[in-house]
């Protein structure tokens, strides 16, 4: 029940502010809305039991990314748009595809088809032991996904080096 | 004491020809035609001996299994299994490949290196189809088989439009296998839904909880794929072209082994995995089989090209095999497996004869041939025996298969359609003798025609023909030797339970 109490408002925040972020004419507003969306999704992660993810999400998407974007906005001195979004066929096309998929989903729900069988997905453990999850994640990083982790570190290093080199 | 059965390994059986084929292609291998031919022949004979070992150490209930994880989360394995059916058809494969390799001596004139490498690769793919334990392993080999088949038909073909025929073959088979792939995936998925675990092993499928209509849909989709290979009448037109335009050894393999993969797959999937659906389809399929038998026999009578006559006759015989499978009882199934073997040998023999005539006379029009019997008495003797076997004369192998098959269809419990079909299929004995005797009469009898060959059969051809005749006689006079092996097949019990 507490899960539901947290989930529904957060989901509402995410949906509303993401749409506002896309539709707003001022770029700074959309940035602020985006910060809200990212923070809310951090809450969603927390609800899902992934505390570590939530913390990372809040620090990176909630702080680092907006700072970067804000700096970019400041540097480039972007003017506000006259219209929020473009006109033309593109808009209708994307609208059509979204409507199509949503209609299909609604149809499926309406005729009562389970896309996946009921028993396939259920919560892993009702009493989530947070330390165990953390253990599992660290285990994952340092055993199964060690190679990926190392590669990723290298990639980060390369990016940092490249960007700082070119920024001179 | 050393246990010989330890040396029998299915991956070795399947992949050994491929390894030899790769050795032939490697750059350090001498580029001498004769060396390549002898090496390839040796490999194929070695493979024959190795497969015969499986038969020698065959024991009742003997099943050899090999399995390796492939895609773990989907339950797909890379596995081989050999039961009695696979044993019989594998030996048929190695025997016919041996014949084909020996016959290649005079028929293949260029590109020896790649020809023999592809031949060996072809053997691997077909053995893979026959011994696959998992549906995706089966599908892998089913598709891989097209590669060597295409090049063998297209690049070493005898006809002027061999490449076109090869393209037609690929097109038909590929479109068939698209349907088949959808069927296989549906089969896999609904098995997962029904049993709750991902498992691709053919003999572990369990579709009890799946509705009958859905099973019929899967069965029909699979049948379209297998029907192209078999072939069933409306989708058979690739076969005469491909068989006519391919070189003789390749025609032998196509008719002797490749068509049998269709029959094998129908037994494996439609009968073993989906018996409930097949029970409903079978009477309709039996009518198609009847059309196959009679229609193509009539077409064969009107042909003038000797290779086309043989090609149509093999469609007719494949219809008989289909009829036996459709009867869904022990007798019919035994008959059709027996006929798979018998017809494989017979049709290979017929193509050997066609090839010899083509090589000596450079003429394939039956109206221009004639009088071969006077010039080539030994070939005439062999041709008589093989043709008589093909029209189902007692004491030769063809008769046993036909009689058991038709009896099985007659004894079928499915519906009265089957009984009627069986009785209507009997005239095939008359019709087949019409076109086959036309072949014998116009090709061999009569005064000397335009073709006047100087030499009788060569030694290696003699060897192949005598082996074929001896196999036909042994199967025809002592059919129990083969039937006893087929009897132990446990698909049959499952199929009859329905």
């Amino acid at each position: 029940m507490t899960q539901a109490l947290v989930f529904y408002p957060t989901a509402l925040i995410i949906m509303v502010f993401s749409i506002i972020a896309i539709l707003s004419k001022k770029i700074v507003y959309s940035l602020i809305c985006a910060i809200l969306v990212f923070m809310a999704s951090g809450v969603i992660f927390y609800v899902l039991g992934a505390e570590y993810n939530a913390v990372i999400q809040l620090t990176i998407y909630g702080l680092a990314v907006p700072v970067l974007l804000a700096m970019a906005i400041m540097f480039t001195d972007v003017k506000n748009e006259k219209r929020a979004i473009i006109t033309g066929a593109r808009r209708y096309i994307i609208l059509t595809s979204v409507v199509l998929i949503i209609m299909a989903l609604v149809y499926l729900v309406a005729i009562g088809v389970n896309i996946t069988p009921e028993h396939t997905f259920s919560p892993a453990n009702t009493n989530l032991n947070h330390f165990r999850i953390f253990d599992a994640i660290t285990d994952g990083f340092f055993s199964t996904y060690l190679a990926a982790f190392e590669l990723f570190s290298l990639l980060l290093l390369a990016v940092v080096a490249g960007v700082s080199d070119n920024a001179k | 004491m050393f246990d010989f059965s330890n040396i029998l390994s299915l991956p070795v059986l399947v992949f050994m020809p491929l390894v030899f084929g790769i050795i032939i292609v490697l750059p350090f291998f001498p580029n001498n035609d004769i060396t390549i031919r002898r090496f390839a022949k040796g490999c194929i004979v070695f493979q024959l001996i190795y497969s015969l070992l499986f038969w020698i150490f065959y024991d009742k209930g003997f099943i050899s299994v090999y399995s390796l994880d492939w895609i773990k989360t989907l339950g797909i394995k890379f596995g081989f299994v050999m039961d009695e059916l696979a044993l019989v058809v594998s030996i048929l494969t190695t025997v016919i490949f041996t014949f084909a390799a020996v016959m290649s001596k005079l028929h293949i004139k260029h590109g020896h290196k790649y020809y023999y490498a592809l031949l060996l690769f072809f053997e691997t793919t077909i053995l893979g189809i026959f011994n696959a334990a998992d549906i995706f392993t089966f599908f892998l080999f089913w598709e891989l088989e097209l590669v060597p088949a295409y090049f063998l038909i297209g690049y070493w073909g005898e006809g002027s439009n061999a490449k076109k025929s090869a393209m037609k073959f690929i097109l038909y088979t590929f479109i068939g296998s698209l349907f088949m792939l959808v069927g296989l995936i549906m089969l896999h998925y609904f098995n997962f839904l029904s049993s709750g675990s991902m498992n691709g092993q053919i003999d572990m499928y369990n579709l009890d909880k799946v509705g009958t209509n859905l099973q019929i849909l899967i069965s029909v989709l699979l049948l379209i794929g297998f029907g192209v290979k078999l072939p069933v009448v409306p989708i058979h037109t690739w076969l005469p072209d491909a068989h006519t335009d391919a070189a003789t050894p390749v025609s032998m393999i196509l008719a002797g082994v490749l068509l049998k993969t269709g029959g094998y797959a129908i037994i494996r999937f439609n009968l073993q995995v989906l018996p409930e659906a097949f029970q409903i389809i079978a009477p309709i399929l039996a009518i198609l089989a009847l059309i196959n038998i009679i229609y193509t026999a009539l077409v064969a009578y009107a042909q003038v090209d000797i290779k086309r006559i043989v090609a149509y006759s093999s469609i007719s015989n494949m219809g008989l095999i289909l009829l036996g499978i459709c009867s869904m009882n022990i007798i019919g199934l035994t008959g059709s497996i027996f006929h798979i073997v018998a017809h494989g040998i017979i049709t290979a023999g017929l193509f050997v004869i066609c090839g010899i005539i083509l090589l000596r006379c450079r003429e394939r029009d039956i109206n221009k041939l004639g009088g071969i019997a006077a010039n080539m008495p030994r070939l005439f003797g062999f041709a008589t025996v093989i043709i008589l076997a093909s029209i189902g004369l007692p004491s030769l192998a063809g008769f046993i298969g036909e009689v058991i098959t038709i009896t099985g269809a007659l004894a079928s419990d499915l519906s009265n359609t089957m009984k009627l079909t069986a009785l209507l299929a009997l005239p095939v004995l008359i019709v087949s003798s019409c076109y086959m005797l036309k072949f014998l009469h116009q090709g061999f009898f009569g005064a000397q025609g335009e073709c006047n060959p100087s030499a009788d059969i060569a030694n290696h051809e003699f060897l192949v023909l005598i082996a074929i005749v001896v196999i036909l006689l042994i199967l025809g006079c002592f059919p129990a030797s083969l039937i006893n092996i087929i009897q132990n097949l446990n698909i049959i019990d499952g199929a009859v339970a329905w």
Partner: protein
């Protein structure tokens, strides 16, 4: 002692097979083999056959039955056995087979001495002995079918023996196919019988043993209605009918006369064609239950006798006359079997076999196809055979009297039989009057031995068969002989003009087959071939593929690229410098990608739900 013969007769039947395989292997591997050795090993087989068959006959008459059985095919409850089971009838028939074979092999060694394919000829003779033996000793219907097909095969091979001659090879194909029709009907009968027994009897295996036939026929009769039973019997009788060259199928015997003369004597008059009578006798328990079948057999037999005798009168070719006569006499035998007088049929079968063989041999002795002779001449032994065949003297007379006694209750049959006897005398004596007789020289010594042995057997048989008296048949035959003299001397065959021609052509039945049935078959085949060519040349798949490719190209060109080209136009208009670069609008591409994915996604989901809902789905 006779048990020894009986138990070891299997070797005598297998011996010719081994000789056949030996000759075949020798020819294949090009091993030289002297003709004398070949002839002597063949003759050895036949002479031992005579001794063993005689011993077996004595044993079976004394009442010892012997049966050896092997499993040939066993699949679940489908059991086919082969083996040996000899009763008196088969023993008698075996004796007949081996005696005739022996003398004809002797005859052939002289007759065929100029033939280059001498080896092949003797190999076929041995194969014939084996397959006929297999047929005769069969314990069940299935083995009979095996032998049935094999003798048909030997007949085909020997008719087409001179395959260089196209006419003869066509004749051989016709012989084989007509025989094949009968065989197929026979096989259909066997399978139907097996099926009926599976369904209605409690026995686990159905082997169709002749010893069980009383049971089988009662079960089959009890569980089928009249029409089905009649059809079943007819299917089985069909085999006998074709093999014995009865009415609609008698034409193959005419074609079979293309074989060398010793073969006409051995296969096409004495032994193989009589196998139909043998089968009918064996299946009599089945046929007796249905009155209609018996009536059918009698009527068919009598009709064939009449019809073929009529045809025989007008023939000029001696072998044709003899072939028609064979059909006619086999018709008489079948009628006797149908009438229930089995003994008479068997006796007449033996007597007729010897007489016919003697007639053929004495004709062939002079008119050897390897000697270049213009004029047909006959030997003195021919007239002795003619007397016997027509029923004027010797064993033929006895048999005709017995026939008369049998048919005497039925007026219609009696009249018909008298007519047949009359015509028989007419055609055989017409030959005697028409062709001159010749003297024999010393080259014919070996052939003479065979001919006179047969004739002596016929003459000797006169004293062992009851009923030697000068009754009505004798006078009918006598009248026939007189008529033949009158016809030949007076009018030289122009007696009835067109009627003669019709008779001569065998009422155009053969021509009907070759002009209509064969050509209709050919036309059907051509028609079907046209359909086939249409299907395969139409290249439907190619067309569909080509059409799909074309359509896809068009869609690509005119629909999907429309916005792109529109953009091109717009940007060209806007800025000429960037005209090439502006074609790539990634956002538009993303939009279209999303649309396509959306369509596919929707389609997959809808198909899935359709499958689940309409086809039953899970559970």
């Amino acid at each position: 002692m006779s048990e020894f013969f009986r138990d070891n007769i299997v070797w005598i039947i297998l011996y010719p097979l081994w000789v056949f395989l030996l000759i075949g292997a020798a020819r294949l591997f090009a091993v030289r083999m002297s003709k004398k050795l070949l002839t002597s090993i063949t003759l050895l087989g036949s002479s031992f056959g005579i001794i063993f068959a005689g011993g077996t006959l004595v044993n079976t008459i004394q009442g010892g039955a012997s049966e050896i059985l092997f499993t040939f095919i066993k699949v679940q409850n489908f059991l086919l056995q082969i083996g040996i089971s000899i009763d008196t009838l088969s023993a008698v028939y075996l004796l007949l087979l081996f005696i005739i074979s022996f003398f004809i092999q002797l005859y052939s060694s002289s007759y065929m001495r100029q033939e280059p394919k001498y080896y092949r000829f003797f190999a076929y003779l041995n194969l014939f002995n084996f397959s006929m033996g297999l047929l005769l000793v069969s314990p069940n219907l299935f083995q009979m079918y095996l032998g049935w097909e094999l003798v048909g095969l030997v007949s085909y091979l020997l008719v087409g023996f001179q395959y260089i001659n196209p006419l003869k090879s066509i004749a051989s194909v016709k012989v084989f196919i007509i025989n094949r029709i009968g065989d197929t009907a026979f096989l259909a009968g066997i399978l139907s019988l097996i099926y009926i027994m599976w369904t209605y009897s409690s026995a686990q295996f159905v082997t169709l043993d002749f010893s069980d036939f009383n049971l089988i026929s009662s079960v089959a009769y009890a569980h089928t209605n009249n029409v089905t039973y009649f059809i079943l019997c007819l299917l089985l009788f069909f085999g006998a009918m074709v093999k014995s060259a009865q009415f609609p199928f008698h034409t193959w015997l005419q074609d079979a006369m293309n074989a060398p003369t010793p073969i006409s004597a051995l296969i096409h008059s004495a032994t193989m064609v009589a196998a139909g009578v043998f089968l009918t006798i064996k299946l009599l328990p089945l046929f007796t239950l249905s009155r209609e079948v018996l009536i059918f057999i009698v009527i068919l037999g009598m009709f064939t006798a009449l019809f073929c005798s009529l045809c025989a009168i007008c023939q000029d070719n001696v072998k044709s006359v003899l072939a028609y006569s064979t059909s006619a006499n086999l018709g008489l035998m079948l009628a006797a079997v149908g009438y229930g007088n089995i003994d008479l049929a068997v006796v007449f079968l033996i007597v007729h076999g010897f007489i016919k063989a003697a007639l053929f041999l004495s004709y062939g002795m002079i008119n050897n196809e390897y000697c270049d002779k213009r004029q047909i001449e006959l030997s003195p032994s021919f007239i002795v055979g003619a007397f016997a065949l027509s029923g004027l003297a010797f064993a033929g007379l006895n048999c005709k009297e017995l026939f008369y006694d049998t048919f005497s209750q039925n007026v219609f049959l009696t009249i018909e039989f008298m007519l047949v006897t009359f015509m028989c005398a007419v055609y055989i004596f017409r030959l005697c009057c028409k062709y001159p007789f010749t003297k024999l020289n010393r080259f014919h010594f070996v052939e003479q031995i065979s001919v006179w042995s047969f004739l002596l057997i016929v003459i000797a048989a006169t004293f062992f068969i009851n009923g030697s008296q000068l009754g009505f048949p004798f006078w009918a035959a006598f009248a026939g002989a007189i008529t033949a003299f009158v016809i030949t001397i007076k009018s030289k065959d122009s007696l009835l003009g067109s009627v003669t021609r019709i008779c001569k052509e065998g009422f155009f039945i053969d021509r009907f087959y070759s002009r209509n049935i064969y050509s209709i078959y050919g036309k059907i085949a051509n028609l079907v071939n046209k359909i086939e060519t249409f299907i395969s040349n139409n290249k439907i798949l190619f067309k569909i593929a080509k059409y799909l490719v074309k359509t896809a190209w068009r869609i690509e060109k005119y629909i999907f690229e429309l916005p792109v080209s529109f953009c091109i136009l717009c940007t060209r208009f806007a800025s000429k410098e960037l005209e090439i670069a502006q074609t790539r609008n990634i956002q538009t591409y993303i939009a279209y990608g999303a649309l396509i994915i959306g369509i596919i996604f929707t389609a997959v989901m809808l198909t899935y739900s359709f499958i689940i809902n309409t086809l039953g789905g899970i559970g």
